[in-house]
């Protein structure tokens, strides 16, 4: 049997090489958690998440909401004394969980991302009304109503497009994408 890579190695391999220093150089100083504007809403703070990855606690890492609650604001990244791109690590764990389909059912983030990417792959442009179902179906009645009100107000001011936009050279565009990832369906 070949040697299996550890979870921390797998995550490191998902990081683009030009970004910052290796995750295992973390000194657990907590600067990232202290800086993070979303930390209060995360199951595990960014510092703990990095520590958990380094300890190969794969299940605990995947199970927490931390990486899907990361807003990619890079505040932690620019302040980390060990020069770790923490926001980049969050992306890596997101990709890991999308590929392995291991994210929690109740999380909206992954479904929104998938809907967004699908819209763009199909038309070359994003289109808000096609994306809305991916997150609105997760809303309770009150949030759903608030969202409908906000959208209607924007619609009235002409701020939501009526027809989905698309690029002109769509066939070339799709072929370009096919060279990188399989497109699935018949698209």
């Amino acid at each position: 049997m070949a040697l299996k890579p550890s979870f921390s190695t797998e995550i490191s391999n998902l990081l683009y090489a030009a970004h910052g220093s290796p995750i295992n150089s973390c000194i657990q100083c907590g600067t990232c958690s202290g800086t993070c504007p979303v930390a209060n809403y995360m199951d595990q703070s960014p510092r703990r998440l990095i520590g958990m990855i380094n300890a190969d606690l794969k299940d605990d890492v995947i199970d927490c909401n931390t990486y899907w609650f990361c807003a990619s604001c890079y505040h932690c990244t620019v302040r980390c004394p060990a020069d770790i791109d923490i926001a980049g690590v969050m992306y890596a764990v997101k990709r890991y969980s999308i590929w392995h389909k291991t994210y929690g059912e109740d999380l909206v983030g992954p479904q929104f991302s998938e809907a967004f990417v699908k819209t763009i792959v199909r038309s070359g442009r994003s289109y808000e009304p096609l994306l809305a179902p991916s997150y609105m179906t997760h809303f309770g009645p009150k949030e759903f109503f608030q969202e409908v009100v906000t959208a209607s107000k924007m619609m009235l001011k002409g701020r939501i497009p009526v027809l989905p936009p698309r690029i002109k050279r769509l066939d070339n565009f799709k072929n370009m994408i096919r060279k990188i990832i399989p497109l699935g369906e018949s698209s």
Binding site: H75, K94, N172, K179, I180, I181
Partner: protein, 294 residues
Amino acid sequence: MKKFAYFPGCSLEKMASSYHKSALETTEVFDIKLQELDDWNCCGATTYFHVDQLLAYTLVARNLALAEKEGLDLVAPCSACYKNAYFTNEYVKEDPDLAEHINFALEEDDLQFNGNIEVHHLIDVFVNDVGVGKLKEQVKNPLKGLKIAPYYGCQIVRPRKNGEDVEDPQYFEDIISAMGAEPANFPERLRCCGGSLIMTSRVAALDMVRILLQSAENNGAHVIATACPLCQVNLECYQATVNEEFGTDFKMPILYFTQLLGLALGISPKKLGIGIELVSATPIFSKLLPKEVK
């Protein structure tokens, strides 16, 4: 005349049409032409990076290649688009392997990208290509008495791009002073608005928006100026929801810096797309009217 390839991004087509209009109007005053890229594609904000990194870079590179073909540097008014374009450009320059993979895919659209262009945010054009001094010379209606909170948000400043000051930038304040207005002290000016968490993690995002509005209000700002369509929508369109959730009573107008600059340059509000706000901007005008302006 100076010419740039202009990448409006998806949100500017409708949701942020006022940013689009005011960007074109204000640059024109300084003899700068923003020539829209033909057949650009959505750069994917952050979501492509959740799925596949190479795909993300390739989709951004297609737009860069379109600009390079025209021989023009790229300007993006959306902070997220700007960040994506800036770093894809840098990585292609420094990583031949990445460039090769991207170009292999771009062939399908008869394109190629060699990293021979520069990428700027729209606000950079005013700061660096026009310059604060020139800006000031063209101001016809100084916005005296108006206190403007400069909202940088995240991605214009972060991650760090060639040596910029990520902890205490001042260029937004300088532009506001050039308009004749007063930059409000705004301690949370670099704090994230939540971005797409407004869709995916609503409770967290609304709280983040609340903190920003509170900080601006506490410091006596009459309006928050933004340089990103996503920030604008979060702060403005979700203000009513914030008020409902937190029992607050914010009525903070949120305008693009180009709209405020346009007013100072003497451009009519209509041409700047003023009037399609969900939070009325009229209180700003009553602040300005008593003076000899207009």
